[in-house]
């Protein structure tokens, strides 16, 4: 192994270096200058994000434990952009809530570690690396969920999260051991060739699916979602709903499409059923929510159900639909959560009724919120419409017309509740609306970039064509 081959895991090495630098910074900087850490962290992560867009070779390391190929590299870059956007939105929160307790460095280190875990998980070539990455991504985020230790709800979120994450990890590990028992290997390649499809393997897959489904919040593994999203700091809810979920979907996709591709018919009806359940449960609960964070939590559950549509296709069309959808979904949800975050931080409310008359005082925030929710709902010509359309197309191409029809019904339901906050902000009048909020420059940059991204991705086909080019992972 030389430096060249080691550079295959450039992203992870870079990220580790940043974590170490932050750690050193935390030790060296005096208390009064801890504020610098925010800027150092942002700057380092910006560099990481930029480098992640440089091309990467295809190859593997550690005897196949670690793999990289264009699609996974591209997806890491998307996640980096998402995290960068979240970080930009959270600068003010860090200054207000974390700096006084001297928790700045911890926040960055934990968040970057979680991202590092996701990167390893996505690049994993065997179950060991996969599991290590999964845990590395989960544990720091549990700590972050409980970060506002003065807030009871935050603590509650942390406790619920760690308990349920443990249950799900246990089940996942049990599934992995069942697979190991029948195929005699933990390497994906070997598993694929040794698979003989006895019942035990299918049960193993069900358990692995449950473990990943926990991260994606598929029904019935979704119960933690709303409580944790609501209790955790909004920044962390944002991270959980897009970054962590996106990576988990990616992993589920590669596992189902490549490693367990032979399961096909023995398995698809489960996905079919879970897709319907997830869409309906997510939507039906989202309708009733008055708390914006819980609302977005259930909306993100429903969105996960739509992704399953394309998982049924088992072909390149499904891959490109999923990756494109995740890209748009990350953009839209980061924007929606960002608005909720800023309002929660400045006006100390997460209640939808308090959003009444938001447009009269904060027109620009209202526009961002509207755009994000329209994108989530899939209203043309915003990017979200095309993203959903490709998902349907992928499912329809394999003849799942009834499922697509059910999905369309669900989109209709979702349209109703996505319009509720928009109606509150634009049409409802209020005696005392949320006062004018002055957002800091970082949040502004983040919002402007996201809005441009949403509009451009909806109208410019270049990105989709690129994804389509690198989607051949079989």
């Amino acid at each position: 192994m030389n430096i060249d081959t080691l550079m295959l895991m450039r992203d992870e090495i870079f990220l580790t270096a940043i974590i170490l630098l932050m750690l050193i910074g935390e030790i060296l900087l005096p208390i009064a200058k801890k504020k610098w850490l925010i800027h150092i962290g942002l700057l380092l992560f910006l560099i990481y994000t930029i480098q992640s867009f440089f091309p990467q070779k295809t190859g593997e390391l550690f005897g196949g434990s670690y793999q990289t190929y264009p699609l996974v590299h591209f997806f890491k870059a998307i996640l980096a952009v998402g995290v960068l956007a979240i970080l930009l939105q959270s600068v003010e929160w860090i200054e207000e809530e974390l700096l006084p307790y001297d928790f700045t460095a911890e926040f960055f280190i934990l968040l970057f570690s979680s991202l590092l875990g996701l990167n390893f998980m996505m690049s994993a070539g065997d179950f060991l690396m996969f599991y290590l990455g999964l845990e590395l991504s989960t544990m720091p985020i549990i700590a972050l969920a409980a970060f506002e230790f003065f807030n009871r709800k935050s603590i509650e979120a942390g406790v619920k999260f760690i308990m349920l994450a443990s249950v799900s990890s246990a089940i996942l590990l049990f599934g992995v051991s069942l697979i190991y028992a029948t195929t005699g290997s933990i390497y994906f390649d070997v598993i694929k060739t040794n698979m003989a499809l006895p019942l035990m393997e299918i049960i193993g897959l069900v358990m692995i699916f449950a473990g990943i489904g926990f991260k994606i919040s598929l029904v019935p593994f979704h119960f933690w979602t709303a409580d944790v999203y609501e209790g955790a700091p909004t920044v962390i809810s944002n991270y959980l709903s897009v970054i962590s979920k996106g990576a988990a979907v990616f992993v589920l996709m590669t596992l189902l499409f490549v490693t367990f591709s032979t399961f096909g018919a023995h398995w698809d009806y489960i996905l079919y059923g879970i897709a319907i359940l997830t869409m309906f449960i997510g939507n039906l609960f989202a309708i009733r929510q008055k708390n914006m964070k819980r609302f977005l939590a259930f909306s993100s559950i429903a969105q996960a159900g739509f992704i399953l549509l394309a998982l049924l296709s088992h072909d390149k069309m499904g891959v490109q639909a999923i990756v494109f959808f995740l890209l748009i979904y990350i953009f839209s949800n980061v924007a929606a959560f960002g608005v909720v975050h800023i309002i929660s931080l400045k006006a100390h409310t997460e209640n939808m009724d308090d959003y009444n008359g938001l447009y009269s005082t904060n027109p620009r925030l209202s526009w961002v919120l509207m755009l994000a929710l329209f994108s989530l709902a899939g209203i043309p010509p915003i990017a979200g419409f095309f993203a959903k359309f490709f998902l349907y197309a992928a499912a329809a191409s394999k003849g799942y017309y009834i499922l697509v029809f059910i999905a369309v019904i669900n989109v209709t339901i979702s349209l109703y509740y996505y319009l509720l906050p928009v109606r509150a902000a634009f049409l409802r009048r209020s005696e005392n609306p949320i006062p004018k909020i002055h957002t800091d420059i970082y949040s502004k940059i983040s919002f402007v970039a996201i809005v441009i991204g949403l509009l451009v991705l909806g109208l410019y086909s270049g990105v989709f064509e690129y994804i389509s080019q690198i989607s051949n992972i079989f």
């Binding site: 119960f223 023995h266 309708i287």
Partner: protein, 647 residues
């Protein structure tokens, strides 16, 4: 041959002017915006006359035939199929150059006239912006080199006409009129579009030069002869396409039965009526038929052209009868316009193609040209009178001759011209139309002949009742219009007297080859038409020069007919009945009921059900950790059981 590359400037200048005035309408005030708009139009005016000079006297005529020059701005703008594409181009041939002169002259005069007429109007700058937009659209329509471009400008003309009719948007009647004009013409344009697509499909081109070429026409005719294309009611589908295109023209040119918008459109400012509803937009239909004249004439033996002739003749008569009875001077002029355009359509309809046989085509174009001048003049005088008297109705006028001599004299010139008294311009063009009609069909000629008499009568009824008739006492003594308005009147009066002497057949003909035509002074036809005009004028003199009892007696003698004519033969009411009582009540309402109660009801049911279910399952999200873990594990177990069961 010299090039016409600069030609795109002619429509471009008003477009830029519109954009500039439109964006700065709140900043630039009267009269600067008016001067700017007028200066832009002056440039267009000069360029148009230069083009006309260059085309007719220098470059146009090659080997005894006028060239059709196509200036291509963008080839293959939109591709439908490999063969069928839309270009952006400009066509220069005798009729488009003639229309350039008409549009730029009238528009320029209207621009100058409006400086006075719109004085102190709060929307002064907006008015000039709209005028520029309209002029741009109309020039584009005239210069368009293919059917699709003409359609684009056709709609733009419709929009700018809508804006100008509804200029006084605080007046409900103006708003209603603008909507009516837009909807009626738009309704006609639907047929126009279908016709365009059909012609494009069969002719494999939208380009006028290609469509009018002998090869295309003979190809289509051979298809018709061999029954290779469908037919309907004995006419081939290609003829029907031409009729559909003509329906589009009927909408814009206010031919029966699509004329109902034109009288109402008089709600707009009077200079607008002069520009749009007398000289330019309303003749777009005539221009369209003339543009495609080779197709109309040759396809299936000119079946579509016969429709044009009949519709034109009927509209001419129909409108003339109504014009006899109207009291509002602008409405008299509106129906007169409709009648005269019917005349032009009729002229095209009765025309042959080659040489002297193409007299009707030439006469139609000639009449378009002369009519534009004197009808614009009539409207502008009417505007000056309305401006002075503050009323549209003849009963409030009378004896204005001594107060407004310029208006009176110019009106008299225009009235003599439209009545067909030599040597004024209308005589020449009208006489040639009647001559062409005589050779085509005696009934059509007779209709034209009667209409000529009626025209003379109602125009002089108008003249006498406004300027003589009685001595009305005015609160503020009216006086002649200010210099800028009077200038336009005098200029157009000079044009009205002069243009009749142009030997039009030297320049304009259906086959593009010049021919000779001259008035046979001694022939009974010419004498007859002068006599009928004089009879009309004489009758008007007897009845209206002084206040007499004749009008009531004549009206009583005609009884019901008079009442019907005065109410415009109840065509408006018929439309109201069809749209409200039949379409709205019998079709729209049941559909609306179905939408409200069945479709919406079903949707509401879905909504209520969804909310109900959401309420029932809320216990699942209890917030208790042990429940969540239990659901999680039971979920896994349930899936495993299903898998085992199905395996």
């Amino acid at each position: 041959m010299d090039t016409f590359d600069y030609i795109y400037l002619i429509p471009l200048i008003p477009l830029l002017m519109f954009l500039f005035l439109g964006f700065t309408a709140r900043k630039i005030k009267e009269p600067v915006s008016g001067y700017l708009g007028t200066a832009g139009l002056l440039a267009v005016f000069i360029l148009s006359y230069y083009t006309a000079y260059k085309y007719f006297f220098a470059d146009g005529l090659v080997d005894g035939k006028y060239q059709q020059i196509r200036v291509m701005l963008k080839e293959g703008w939109i591709h439908f199929t490999d063969k069928l594409a839309i270009d952006i181009g400009i066509i220069i041939d005798p009729i488009s150059v003639m229309m350039l002169v008409v549009v730029s002259t009238v528009s320029f005069m209207v621009h100058i006239y409006s400086l006075g007429y719109m004085h102190k109007d709060p929307g002064f700058s907006r008015f000039y912006a709209y005028l520029s937009l309209f002029t741009f659209s109309m020039l584009g329509l005239v210069l368009a080199s293919n059917l699709f471009m003409i359609y684009i400008f056709w709609e733009l003309v419709g929009v700018s006409s809508y804006l100008l009719i509804g200029y006084y948007f605080e007046k409900p009647s103006a708003v209603a009129a603008s909507k009516k004009a837009f909807i009626v013409t738009r309704f006609a344009d639907m047929f126009f579009l279908i016709g365009i697509l059909m012609i494009g499909y069969f002719g494999q081109s939208f380009d006028f030069m290609t469509l009018n070429s002998e090869s295309t026409i003979s190809m289509l005719n051979s298809w018709i002869a061999n029954h290779q294309v469908a037919s309907f009611l004995g006419l081939s589908v290609i003829t029907w396409a031409l009729i559909l295109i003509f329906i589009g023209g009927m909408g814009k040119s206010a031919m029966f039965p699509l004329h109902i918008w034109l009288p109402d459109a008089m709600e707009g400012p009077t200079p607008v009526s002069a520009l749009i509803h007398a000289a330019t937009m309303v003749v777009a239909g005539v221009y369209l038929v003339a543009r495609l004249f080779p197709m109309y004439y040759h396809i299936e033996g000119g079946a579509a052209l016969r429709v044009v002739a009949v519709v034109g003749a009927f509209s001419a008569l129909f409108a003339a009868i109504i014009a006899l009875t109207q009291e509002d001077i602008k409405r008299v002029l509106a129906f007169s316009t409709m009648s005269q355009i019917g005349y032009m359509m009729m002229a095209l309809g009765v025309s042959g193609f080659d040489g002297y046989e193409g007299l009707g085509y030439m006469a139609g174009m000639f009449h378009l040209f002369t009519h534009a001048m004197f009808k614009a003049l009539l409207f502008l005088v009417a505007g000056a009178v309305i401006h002075a008297v503050h009323s549209n109705f003849m009963k409030d006028m009378g004896g204005l001759h001594k107060y407004m001599p310029i208006a009176s004299w110019t009106f008299l010139i225009a009235a003599l011209a439209i009545s067909g008294i030599p040597p004024f311009s209308g005589f020449f063009s009208k006489d040639e139309i009647l001559m062409a009609a005589w050779e085509y069909n005696k009934i059509i000629w007779f209709v034209g002949f009667i209409v000529a008499g009626m025209t003379a009568f109602y125009m002089f009824r108008l003249y006498f009742r406004i300027f003589h008739h009685k001595d009305t006492q005015y609160e503020h003594p009216p006086h002649d219009a200010p210099a800028n308005m009077s200038f336009s009147l005098i200029f157009l009066a000079v044009m009205t007297m002069a243009v009749g002497f142009i030997s039009f057949s030297e320049y304009i003909s259906a086959s593009l080859k010049p021919f000779h035509s001259h008035i046979h002074w001694g022939s009974p036809l010419v004498i007859g038409s002068i006599v009928i005009a004089l009879v009309g004028i004489g009758a008007a003199y007897l009845m209206y020069y002084k206040e007499t009892e004749y009008p009531q007696k004549v009206a009583a003698a005609f009884g019901t007919t008079y009442k019907w004519a005065k109410n415009k033969f109840y065509v408006d009411e018929l439309y109201m009945y069809v749209t409200h009582k039949i379409i709205f009540d019998k079709v729209s309402k049941p559909i609306a009921w179905f939408d409200r109660y069945v479709i919406d009801g079903f949707m509401n049911l879905l909504g209520v059900t969804t909310l109900g279910i959401a309420n029932r399952i809320k216990f699942l999200q209890s917030g208790r950790l042990q429940d969540y873990a239990m659901y999680f594990v039971s979920g896994v177990v349930a899936i495993i059981i299903i898998v085992i069961y199905y395996k």
